[in-house]
Symmetry: C2
Subunit: 426 residues, 2 copies
């Protein structure tokens, strides 16, 4: 039997349709995902812990009736190792938590399991979802970083090892690895999903993230996570898109600038109005505000871990030192700036359906000692907005370039519907 | 040796001063707290789990040097049993979690321990910090409810069993039991403290709460929890207080209305301007908005527990059913209303130092089957504001009547400073 390629494995929506139509079976697909893992994991290194094929199939067979009747049919999901699971350790990418066994599954894990997903394993996260990389390599080019912090989840979905994965984002931890690996990543509005059982990094910034290969997959996962009906998943053609080119945020590669222009042209050809954001340096300033909020909160959330100085990376220790010495007034000013600019942004973009921006400065950087620059995500994350990475653009060498669409706070349904309309055109 | 009374046991600030001055020792005080527990626990029922005197003293002696050099000197703290501890079970007031052992201490527990507090035990919470009472009785009148959900923490501090305790508030879970039991309770601004390891109930509403007997105790605990210097704890005389009488929120007893008028008179005698809030029914509407937000989020956060229908109380099941059937539009409207009214409130009260309101409709109700009405807290909690219950007022029978002071979002320092100035006058 030949090894399936990433693109030969169906996305979640297609897989479920094929099972429901009788064209294939969940078991056949599960075996294909495992074939893919067997062929690729030694190179990609997406997994921190995982079930063997035998363990997975035993679990499936034990509750076969439940899975057959379920929405997600026993298909595999990958869980970032910052999210608690009762059946496998949750080590948060840190030797401090080696072998740590949580008392129970996080709520997001429970909800996916109840809908019929099986947790295939835990995926590599950077150290406490901050910067220090794990072992994962970019499946699009093994010499490059997959991005982080949700490195393993992005790589596993992009490489066809699983049709869906959970991640989390505090700075750029979903949007960037999705862009670098060439798959879809969606970050919920702040407060949108239960984070119970997800280890907090910065309470004013943390959001749950989802990875999949179709917007409809993300919509389905979202419905499961919100305990909402799955019948109302739609597609909406936008009328106006505001574009925030990378130069307003920070350094951007020419290849990314070209990709953004290509997408703008695609939009115009569909008679969608494309307007440039007149941002008065506000978006750029939010990069700093985000960093300030993060530093203040991380050093408090990780108070326990801060004792283990010999087991913490230098960048994380530096972040915590920044947070500890920061005057409280600066932290409060950054929180206020994030709030005020969210109001300003959507007054400025009142008629827009979404904002278009680079999901990262360019393609994934070479090497594995860093996960790439996070500045393209910081402004939107500071404002708590829902964001989605859409793949489809590439540089001249064929490496993935991700663009992001940003929506209004709590208007996640509309953002996903617009993204669903746009995805096939990219 | 005679049993110490609640008032004979020093508050935290006085205890630390007495130890530092050499007037007493931490060991002597610890023994007095245990004497009080031995005398009263059978009646009050504040504790779900706790160390024996011998276990506590052994822990103290083992690290005596650390405790003697520490800020909190090895004095005991009580932790609401919704907050994770690694050394004792965390059962959340539910048989579903009987014997549940978390992997680690919550961050707030870690920080207090690191400052030299010893976790004496876990205090009784209502079921998942919602309405179903535990065994705790009101130390001011054992025939009455202590309020909830932080029942045991409020009772333990009010009864002099410990000088400090942690709780949490989603609706009225700190402010109300503090008022009913006659002690101080403080709820931090939303987002103010790390909630890592505290079990979430509703992410848009949950806040950490502290109990103690002096405002200066709360300021000290706050500094520890924020890893901030303890040198800058102040008192501020307010210039203008806005009063929100109970009738604007919901039913209020005449005794409480009289208590509020007495406090207003005390303020006026100090040349503090007292202005009535012209609230245009907004505060009352926030009671409903709060309930809506809570229902939507609780049924998602407690998704796992919702399976165990035979182990859940009827009120909690009803709340979750409300949340599951609620149109998302209603939830979003309630979130928007909470945001908009927070902006409106502090425009209206621009010159005010704090808002004064009843902390509960009246004294603690008779009986133990309910924890009293939460409506007096819902509006402020929906807006994410910092709040403090101040005791001192009583009805004709001498039962505690708590008033609350409400501050601007994230202006917790100022609120506590104003409360500190006011407390001795009440």
């Amino acid at each position: 039997m030949s090894t399936p390629t990433a693109s030969s494995l169906p996305d979640l929506t297609s897989a479920l349709a094929a099972i429901n139509n009788g064209e294939t079976t969940a078991l056949a697909l599960i075996n294909q995902y495992f074939d893919r893992i067997d062929a690729r994991e030694a190179d990609v290194g997406a997994w921190q812990f995982r079930l063997s094929r035998e363990e997975y199939l035993a679990q499936y067979q034990q509750q076969r009736g439940f899975y057959e009747a379920s929405l997600l049919k026993g298909l595999p999901v990958a869980i970032k190792d910052i999210i608690d699971t009762a059946s496998m350790p949750t080590e948060m990418g840190s030797p401090i938590h080696k072998g740590r066994m949580p008392a129970e599954d996080a709520t997001c894990v429970e909800l996916l399991k109840r809908a019929g997903a099986i947790v295939l394993g835990k995926t590599v996260t950077t150290e406490f979802a901050y910067f220090k990389p794990g072992k994962t390599r970019n499946p699009a080019d093994l010499n490059r970083t997959p991005g982080g912090s949700s490195s393993g989840s992005a790589a596993a979905v992009a490489d066809g090892m699983v049709p869906m994965a959970l991640g989390s984002q505090t700075a750029a931890s979903v949007i960037r690895p999705a862009a670098y690996c060439g798959t879809l990543g969606y970050v919920g509005s702040r407060g949108e999903y239960s984070l119970r059982g997800g280890q907090p990094l910065a309470q004013s910034l943390d959001s749950l993230g989802l990875f999949a290969r179709q917007v409809s997959d993300l919509q389905l996962m979202r419905a499961v996570l919100l305990r909402s009906p799955v019948s109302e998943l739609t597609s909406i053609k936008p009328r106006r898109i505001v574009v925030c080119r990378g130069d307003q945020v920070g350094e951007t590669d020419p290849a990314m600038a070209a990709a953004i222009e290509r997408v703008c042209e695609i939009l115009r050809q569909q008679d969608i109005e494309v307007v440039t954001l007149d941002d008065q340096h506000r978006i750029q300033q939010l990069v700093t505000h985000h960093s300030q909020i993060m530093a203040w909160e991380v050093c408090r959330n990780l108070a326990r871990e801060s004792r283990y100085t010999d087991l913490l990376s230098a960048p994380l220790q530096a972040l915590m030192e920044t947070g500890l010495t920061m005057p409280r007034e600066e932290y409060l000013q950054s929180l206020e700036a994030a709030d005020a600019n969210r109001d300003w942004l959507w007054q400025t973009c009142a008629e827009a359906d979404a904002i278009l921006a680079p999901a990262a400065p360019g393609v994934a950087p070479l090497g594995h000692d860093k996960t790439g620059a996070p500045h393209m995500s910081r402004p939107w994350q500071a404002m708590g907005l829902p964001v989605i990475t859409l793949p489809g653009q590439t540089d001249e060498a064929g490496l993935p370039l991700g663009i992001q669409l940003i929506g209004r706070a709590r208007a996640d349904d509309r953002l996903l519907a617009v993204a669903r309309w746009l995805q096939p055109l990219l």
